[in-house]
Symmetry: D2
Subunit: 302 residues, 4 copies
């Protein structure tokens, strides 16, 4: 990897804010693609190795002012609002610049930001991702992007550096958020359904592995059934790929978005209740597939 | 196809009772494989074409007495009990013969029959199938078989004639029924989850087709998501591939089996409630994916 | 109590079949009201003390042939069918006689019996009761009666001897069953709601007793809130006033009746699922208010 | 009523902020009890008649600075935060003064305010009320109060002027909020259960009035069953005593409080889903008992 590429930081560096597990790997892949990157993170040390491989460290959030594109990959609505408003990012960005929000945020916030950005002439692209940290490291993320076509076009080289494929989901930025939340809902629904099927077959003397083999050999031959089928069959809820509290956060975002649109989602409610039970039953540190533990518990299986 | 192969009915003809949509196609495939077949159906005319291609018509249920293997493919528990006990099949069968029950029946009945058959020295193989009538015609069924290994071995040539693959699910006959019901439950759960995701994205301005394309291009690349994703996206609930009342019947069998094992299945209950609503809202003649119509209704979408 | 009143059994004796906890107390109250009673029970010894106080023991179910009115108070649908058809009661009864079914049976069976009785010229009165065994002993039952007015008129002296009040619910016998099941559903719903409120307040540091006192002092000043509020607040699920398996049986009858009418009852389903969980979690010998234990369990309270 | 009593406003006037339907009636009753009252409302005209009968109008929220006791009766969390922080009430109040929050707010806000008030030496009493506007007019509210005993003692004369009874629910202010939300949850649960019972009996040919008469004559002889039993039986959801959107708001507060304590409330979720459906089906202007309309709708009853 190049060691001293950015002594003169180009004015067109990509800003990147938020260097958690996901963000760090994503920023590293931007660098690996020889894109100039300017980073900022609340805990600065998280970016040391990136600086060592060519990233420029911003002196503060407002120091992203010169960037044409600023990516945020922060933990939740509150962190994003703090970055944009508290930290002053939005007012610092120049008209015509693009803010790419890659976190999973609420639909309501995406709606609000559409207006705030438009008022300031800053383009908003919402681009949450599908994939766990290992997919981020391998640049194998699926990127779900929504916003003005021209704005997404400008982001495409970055998306190509971080992901295996970009899906364009419309011109309303919130569309990408809605789709991302729907995907997570569908995964959770699948885990819940496998969990209930598991207690049914197990209590009648059939191994869940037998059922999973059958499923993935026939109609349900999708990666997600293989992954979660094995987890549920083995009751292996640790280590956490996607921890229960994050799952609960996302299901709450799903239900908030649904309520905002007057759309009842009773299965969403059921999943949320089971995730709350998982928290109560000691699975706060486990994977959100601990839905299976809750279902087993209620069937008297420990 | 051979026209006059069975003038002398071999004593080892396969008995086949129940010539509905599924059963008729299955019996035809047995004949096509040059297996001797003796048929019986409440409405005799349903078998006329099979007789024309070589099947022997039994004079009554008890006339299956000489068959080494008798397959039943009738509509429900009541019809099977009527055949076995009212019609006298079970008492007529000779010790050492095999009864292959290919209907979707209740787990409780499978448990009861295990005892009744054992008492009479008749082997019971439960072998419900996955696949709709077109798969039955094409001999592409998946056959889920459970029972004594030796008994299944004897049925294997027939299964090969009717299906694309046989899964052996254990020595307890009820195991196949439990697995079959679980598969149907998982399909229904998938329809419900797609339906709820559909109202969420639709009400936020995203086409359900967009979501389905994304799903089937990524983690959910299974036939069942393609099939039902398209149905839900198009709200195309007619014609019925698997009618709402049959779906409701199967979900009731799922919940009965779960209750019998003290296993709560709240998602199963939710699906059953929605299928009942589908009946009430005018979808009795539609496909069980009219779950999607119920979910849409409750979101004010008509 | 009179000791030798019935030496000559009058032909118009009231037949009484089923001497469990409830039935025994009810038959005793008929005798106490100086009504001639002819009894039968599968376990004859249960009626010995009644014979000692004047009841006549029938030699068999068919020996009720001469009675103008026969009351059945048996455990469930199967027992009632066994009595009526297996035991031959219905064919033995004379045209114009009245069969009073006081058990909680399924609505479907009530519908079927309406036809069977009518065909034989026997009047059917369904008259399930509200009240636990102590209310039966004290002749304080509420009697929910439905059937032809003239038939109920003939039963009124018996009802007056067994209960504190009779509610006439229509001429269709099943109406009384539907109402009885609805009442039990409403009680279960109330227990579930109190159980959920209990974990909410308890986890936020408020005693459930405080909430119950408030409720029963204001809008919810009904006996049923006092009774179950205290049970839930104390988590005192034993001894069983109405055992979990009977509660589960009744909720299943509710859901069967609802399905029969294409009426989804999602709260009914939720309660049934929680009762199944109660069975799985070790409350089969406890009161059906162990719904509260299930709710507490899922909140991590043991 | 006295016409010119407060020419010299006493320094100990009670501050009252929020003159909606409820607040206006409550402030009027304070005046009727000859308590000195200083009012403020966003729309000043709402207080004109109160000024005419002796209330003093504050020049702004901060003008409540001199009051020993300030009551807030505003619409929701946002309005209360705006009053306390945006409007500067909390910083304006003198140490030792009492803020009485009578709105139904979130448990999380009550927890946060406990800390904010304590830091400033202002006592916080949460005192939400039970009762509709007509009860507020008649001074027949039930007042649910929690906070330091000495602080509640100082409020007691005001509570006596506004309500028929005060319940003291502990020293943690949030306790009153938790109890108030629980009461509303229990009322909603009761409406849901009556609605489901209603479709069951109606579809089987029994009038819901018949069931309600039975209930309120026996175990369920509480005002709340009479009120809502009649509404559900008549399907009379307008005019709105407590509108659907407010019911939905409160059920969301219930579920937020439950989630905050890791307590699943599946019946709470079911009710919330049905209220969302009521919004979607056109009952936004109706009473929250339009839960009954949703249940009927799903049973095919229009």
């Amino acid at each position: 990897m190049n060691t001293k590429p950015n002594e003169n930081v180009p004015s067109n560096a990509v800003g990147f804010i938020g260097l958690g597990n996901m963000g760090h790997a994503m920023a590293r892949n931007l660098l690996a693609a020889r894109l100039p990157v300017k980073i900022w993170n609340r805990t600065a040390a998280k970016g040391d190795d990136l600086v060592a491989t060519g990233a420029v460290r911003a002196s503060g959030i407002a120091d992203m002012a010169g960037c044409d594109i600023v990516i945020t990959m922060v933990s939740d609505d509150a962190a994003l609002c703090q970055t944009l408003f508290g930290g002053g990012l939005l007012d610092a960005m120049k008209p015509g610049a693009v803010h790419v929000s890659m976190s999973t945020i609420s639909v309501a916030l995406a709606e609000q930001l559409s207006k705030e950005h438009e008022r300031r002439g800053v383009a908003l692209v919402c681009a949450p991702v599908m994939g766990r940290p290992d997919a981020a490291v391998a640049a194998k993320l699926f990127i779900l992007a929504a916003g003005a076509d021209a704005a997404i076009d400008r982001c495409q080289p970055m998306f190509d550096a971080m992901g295996q494929r970009t899906f364009r989901l419309g011109v309303e930025p919130k569309s990408a958020v809605v789709v991302k939340l729907s995907v997570n809902f569908l995964i959770a629904a699948l885990i819940e359904s496998l969990s209930e099927a598991s207690v049914l077959v197990t209590k009648h003397g059939v191994s869940m592995h037998t059922l999973v083999d059958l499923l993935t050999s026939t109609l349900f031959s999708a990666p997600v059934y293989k992954t979660y089928g094995a987890i549920v069959a083995d009751q292996r809820y640790r280590p956490a790929g996607f921890p229960t509290p994050l799952g609960l956060k996302d299901m709450s975002l799903v239900l908030d978005a649904a309520r905002g649109a007057n759309a009842p989602m009773p299965l969403g409610s059921l999943i949320r209740d089971h995730l709350i039970a998982a928290m109560a039953l000691g699975y706060a540190d486990a994977d959100w597939s601990s839905l299976g533990a809750v279902v087993a518990h209620n069937a008297g299986i420990r």
